[in-house]
Symmetry: C2
Subunit: 136 residues, 2 copies
Amino acid sequence: MEDFTNFICFQLGASARKIQNYYNNLFKPYGITLGQSFILMALLQREGLNIGGLAEKLMLDNSALTGLVDRLEKEDLVQRRVDPEDRRAYLIYMTDKGRELAHTVYALVDQFNQQLRGMLGEEQQEGIKLLLKSLS
Amino acid sequence: MEDFTNFICFQLGASARKIQNYYNNLFKPYGITLGQSFILMALLQREGLNIGGLAEKLMLDNSALTGLVDRLEKEDLVQRRVDPEDRRAYLIYMTDKGRELAHTVYALVDQFNQQLRGMLGEEQQEGIKLLLKSLS
DNA sequence: TATAGTTATTTGACATGTAAAATAATTTAA
DNA sequence: TTAAATTATTTTACATGTCAAATAACTATA
């Protein structure tokens, strides 16, 4: 019987956790987490996304975004503004402070990402991409 | 600027989440989660591990095990027994019910694992293994 | 236009994970 | 042998994530 630690579900979960912990430690001086940084980076691409748009981009449940945005808002990194076209929805904008931090964390994420890519061959990187696509 | 959804941290995290959700749904009829199933599968290999041993095998913090074992114990799937050689420690054993479920979930995990392996080439599977090892 | 059905977001309940502090037992060393 | 250091586990506080239900606003239709 094969050791369950060889199963993809286990290895992927453990790797994801380790990477997340690495980044969370790296970001500690900035008072932010990897998950929160994804929001900032999403807003760097396109500001004024709403909760649903962020959830889709981050591949998370809408309700997960509520808490993430709450914490960023509490740190004065983003703001919710009522969508003038749809009063149910909030559009999310960065503050100046948030935008500045967004650039900082982007650089940090990118940097370790290149290290991770160095550990993997081209094809293996494709494998992860493919896996995610197949699962979506 | 590269889209952060192409970063390995993002893709690995999202894939891990999707796989976890898949299994958690699959296991719903059994009242168990993927994380809990890892404990059962670890005990199937070697019964009587203590919390620390389980944590090491599962690559989790000791304190994460407390809750996981609590829930399994509440469902009468495992039991804590004081280690006769060290009264600080508990040795974890499965109940008959737990052992039976362990076999069932092992088969289910194995089955979808083979599907996942089918999506990836040999080399890509090695990549994930290598990544985890490099991060450990 | 009233109403029924959708949609965006939040809330609440729960499982998971980390980190740091608390407990309790074991080990080491003076 | 007693005190100090270490070790196993739990607890607490918090961030994350899912799911289902609640709100509130929009849309379509009779």
